[in-house]
């Protein structure tokens, strides 16, 4: 079973798992009532976004009472610290039905970790791309404003920005943004 509030990521993981010969018995995308979903789907493994609020529900469906044997969080059965570390960093966790062997669980978990890592680096690239785009815009605006105020050329305006950035030990995009905002307030 896959629980992920990020619908695209969850669906993609379910597809990957299905293609790898596993059967995804449930795909939970939003804040559904997990105890009933779990009771219906009876999963051997639940793969879930580490930050999902639904995890806390799984914690209880899991192994809280010492007298009851229930699914356990991956950490309890997995002594492979590196795998766990990679999972936490990638943002995925798993709950495993009591009795499912590590040998059977491990490959599924590896698929999930790899999937989450890929997703994470994609997001990082996107946000870097976005912020450099934004910065680009601010630099152009700042240059324009400087050219107008100081009556200087484009390259002079850019050197001025770069000097300010070096003096303040800030990125040029940051300096540009501050300058644009400041000039908006002043005017």
């Amino acid at each position: 079973m896959v629980v992920d509030e990020d619908a695209a990521r969850g669906r993609a993981l379910a597809n990957v798992l299905n293609d790898s010969g596993y059967k995804v018995v449930g795909l939970v995308l939003t804040g559904e009532y997990l105890p009933s979903v779990m009771a219906d789907a009876k999963p051997d493994v639940v793969l879930i976004d580490i930050s999902s609020p639904s995890r806390d529900t799984l914690e209880m469906v899991s192994s809280i009472h010492r007298d009851h044997k229930r699914p356990v969080v991956m950490f309890a059965s997995d002594d492979d610290e590196q795998t766990v570390q990679a999972a936490v960093e990638a943002g995925v966790s798993a709950y495993v039905a009591d009795g499912l062997s590590l040998a059977k669980f491990k490959p599924i978990f590896q698929v999930a970790i790899a999937h989450f890592q890929k997703h994470q680096s994609l997001e990082r690239e996107l946000s870097t791309a976005k912020s450099s785009l934004d910065e680009r815009k601010f630099i152009d605006r700042a240059k324009g404003l400087l050219m107008e105020k100081r009556k200087c050329s484009e390259s002079e305006a850019f050197s001025l920005l770069r000097k300010m950035a070096m003096d303040r030990k800030q990125r040029i995009g940051q300096v540009a943004q501050e300058l644009v905002e400041l000039l908006q307030i002043v005017n």
Binding site: G31, Y33, P35, I50, S51, S52, P53, S54, R55, D56, T57, L58, E59, M60, V61, S62, S63, I64, H65, R66, D67, V72, V73, F75, A76, V84, Q85, V88, E89, S93
Partner: protein
């Protein structure tokens, strides 16, 4: 600057040059009003003042907080007060030595039930509306009636198995002779989902922190029957948790972090107007709720009924006063007694050893001593003996004003005798108002 008053705490002029081992930190929090100390430390620059750059990261689940601290994704986090103990013992999931040297607040929870259940309870025992301590007895009557008629068990939501909420709700139920493991279903529900599950009748009631009780009342989905404060005055609630290895490797950073949050708690305490804190918390970055809703409990008022004046509850949240920031080992011992009571840990585990390993007042004192504030010199205190504020004296220092500490059923807790306390609780089921009703 929002704050016109002079902060009472300062590192003064004698600031020593200390090496902060890790000046850039990631700290996790859960969007509940009691993340206020961390938010204020960030927004008012107390982290910066201590040489720290902090990225406050909103986390959706308590399990996520636990795992990310255990595996170093977070340097520190707002934790449920029993969580350092539970994680150290590996009660569920990760087993990693985890400690706290700073409490973030006292109180802050309440028990809310659906409108239907509220009606049934107040029909079964009308006095419970005025005297909220009778609410557990009212619930007991409803449960007995349902049993007699062969109806399904009621279902209550808690936020995490090892939370004050769970122990509080169970304490309240057991005080009236309800067995929380037999007579009701208890399930874990993320706080933001409590209200909608109550509305959709998947839950009949829950115990949760703010703003989720007030939201239920204001949206006419449920009614609060009792607050955590009324179950146990000034009970522990959230702490700042770090893993034990991290604390060993970053002692100065840990001190700086504790000092920054201590200053924030003191700042909150000094504010005559609570609105600035409310505005900070309301932001999407933090709790993301309407200031009108957060502003009730954060300003010491509780809306028990829609359309009526909120009641004054000045101690609904306690951040700075009553030595609220101090990590009492006696609180840790109390948590272990509850873990035993409800079958989460074996009976023969030693409470005191667990308390000494997980709750670290010596670190608190080392950090706080540079601020020149007054703090307890003892690690343990009895509970249940004061129904009014009282005074704790510490060596060579001014008196410390402490809050009342009574339970709804008048029990007394001596941290030196946990086994006897536990035996009394187990015998005393049904104790609250027996004889009178």
């Amino acid at each position: 600057m929002i704050c016109p008053s002079t902060p009472r705490l300062s590192t003064g002029k004698k600031t020593k040059m200390i090496r902060i081992e890790k000046p850039i930190l990631r700290i996790g929090f859960v969007p509940l009003t009691d993340c206020a100390p961390l938010v204020v430390a960030q927004e008012m620059g107390f982290f910066t003042e201590e040489g720290l750059t902090v990225d406050l990261v909103r986390e959706g689940s308590w399990a996520g907080i636990r795992d990310k601290v255990a595996y170093g994704v977070f340097d520190a986090a707002q934790m449920l007060a029993p969580m350092p103990i539970a994680t150290t013992l590996g009660i569920a999931g990760v087993r990693k030595p985890t400690i706290t040297a700073l409490s973030l607040d006292l109180n802050g929870n309440a028990i809310t039930v659906s409108n239907t259940l509220f009606e049934q309870m107040s029909e079964a025992l009308p006095q419970m509306v005025e005297d909220r301590k009778l609410s557990a007895k009212a619930l007991k009557n409803v449960i007995d009636d349902r049993k007699a008629k062969g109806k399904d068990k009621l279902t209550f939501g808690i936020v995490f198995p090892t939370s004050m909420h769970n122990y509080e709700l169970r304490y309240w139920m057991a005080s009236a002779g309800i067995d929380p493991d037999q007579d009701v279903n208890l399930i874990v529900v993320p706080p933001p989902q409590m209200v909608s599950f109550l509305k959709d009748k998947q839950l009949d009631g829950y115990c949760v922190g703010e703003p989720w009780n007030t939201v239920a009342t204001l949206s006419k989905v449920g009614r609060t029957v009792i607050t955590g404060y009324e179950i146990w005055n000034n009970s522990p609630e959230k702490v700042l948790g770090v893993n034990s290895d991290w604390a060993d490797r970053h002692p100065n950073t840990h001190f700086a972090l504790i000092r920054a949050v201590l200053k924030a708690c003191d700042w909150i305490e000094q504010q005559e107007d609570c609105q600035p804190v409310v505005e900070m918390l309301a932001s999407e970055k933090y709790v993301g709720a309407l200031p009108e809703i957060i502003g009730l409990t954060m300003c010491g008022k509780y809306q028990f009924e829609l359309g009526k004046h909120p009641e004054l509850m000045p101690d609904f949240n306690v951040f700075g006063r009553f030595a609220a920031t101090f990590p009492w080992r006696s609180h840790a011992i109390w948590f272990v007694t509850q873990m035993k009571r409800w079958g989460q840990v074996p009976e023969d585990w030693d409470e005191r050893m667990i308390a000494e390993a997980t709750y670290r007042p010596e670190i608190y004192r080392a950090a706080a001593s540079e601020l020149g504030i007054n703090f307890p010199t003892q690690d343990y205190k009895a509970e249940g003996k004061h129904d009014q504020p009282w005074t704790l004296y510490s060596d060579d220092r001014d008196a410390l004003t402490m809050g009342s500490d009574v339970w709804m059923d008048g029990q007394v807790f001596d941290p030196a005798k946990p086994a006897e306390y536990l035996a009394r609780l187990r015998q005393g089921r049904g104790g609250v108002t027996s004889g009178k009703l």
